[in-house]
């Protein structure tokens, strides 16, 4: 019986990922970061390149956190809840909205600094491979926590893309751009497959209408 309780709690946690919208959002963020990286390569070595990355990364990550979450919720309201039901998850006691935005901005800024200053002192091969493997490890962690098997495939894909991008005979910033695009496309592909499967398996119906 305890096992049933555990499984039921896990299934409820997995429900957030049933439609693939959150994966599409993450994919969109990574692809946007790749585009910013690509544009910065075009503008190199002008100051515009550094500004593009320094400002573009935080703006995309921050925008993804704030507006992306709103988009996911709106899509769930429109697509998911009428099909398979509404769930509101328990939110951890969180600080104010302003504090959250500041925190997200600081994290995004730190990521930007780490990417551009600290990592640039390492060998390009290890920067690209290390970044990709760190992200893959985080995806594995998510797969264990939720738990959700398709995240293991995604982590595998990210590891492969990381190695391939690191091995390419290109400039390191182009390799990073390819890595980010590859990761983003992996997330988007996962999201599209999940959404397609979900829509096929769950046509719109509302049992409550018949109930009343």
């Amino acid at each position: 019986m305890n096992e049933t309780i555990k499984t039921t709690i896990e299934r409820t946690r997995q429900y957030w990922y049933i439609d693939g919208f959150s994966e599409l959002l993450v994919g969109f963020i990574f692809v946007s970061l790749a585009l910013i990286s690509g544009l910065s390569v075009l503008f190199k070595p002008s100051i515009g390149s550094a500004i593009l990355v320094g400002v573009g990364y935080p703006v995309i990550i921050l925008g993804g956190v704030v507006f992306g979450n709103k988009w996911v919720r709106a899509m769930k309201e429109k697509v998911t809840y009428p099909r398979t039901g509404y769930v509101k998850y328990i939110q951890p006691a969180s600080p104010s909205r302003r504090a959250r935005i500041i925190k997200a901005f600081v994290i995004a800024f730190m990521v930007s600094i780490v990417t551009n200053v600290i990592l640039s002192k390492l060998d390009p091969f290890w920067i690209v491979l290390g970044t990709g493997l760190l992200i893959a490890a985080f995806v594995v962690y998510m797969g264990v926590q939720i738990p959700l098997n398709r995240f293991y495939f995604l982590a595998g894909w990210i590891a492969v893309v990381s190695y391939a991008a690191a091995r390419l005979p290109l400039a390191d910033d182009v390799q990073m751009c390819i890595l980010l695009a590859g990761i983003g496309l992996g997330w988007v592909a996962g999201g599209v497959v999940s959404l397609g499967t979900y829509l096929r398996n769950h046509p719109v119906e509302n049992p409550e209408i018949e109930e009343d």
């Binding site: 049933t4 039921t8 409820t12 039901g85 509404y86 769930v87 328990i90 209408i209």
Partner: protein, 105 residues
């Protein structure tokens, strides 16, 4: 009957019923869930689910809100503090049953 074994029969029968246990398990892990979600997850018929929800609501274990999402009726359920405590007590009870069985065997 041995006192140890008597406590084992002292179970909250309202939660002990598998369908209601499943409903409470879902509701304890979320803030709110609607009728459609609960029906999909439990696999119960509309009528059965309604009956179980009513029983849980009458016991004060869940709150039921009837609203409309546009023109579509929506029944939203939320576990109460009483319900959470009853659920936790039930889990402790399950653990004690397993322990007693394993020590007596």
């Amino acid at each position: 009957m041995n006192e140890d074994w008597r406590t084992l029969t002292d179970v909250d029968k309202l939660i002990h019923e598998p369908s209601r246990l499943m409903i409470l398990t879902i509701l304890v892990s979320v803030e709110k869930a609607d009728f459609v979600y609960l029906q999909r997850e439990t696999g119960l018929t509309r009528g059965n689910l309604s009956v179980h929800l009513t029983k849980l609501s009458e016991a004060g274990y869940i709150d039921i809100q009837k609203t409309f999402n546009g023109k579509v009726p929506q029944t939203i359920c939320q576990i109460t503090d009483t319900g959470k405590q009853a659920f936790l007590r039930y889990r402790e009870y399950l653990k004690s049953v397993v322990e007693k069985i394993s020590t007596s065997g």
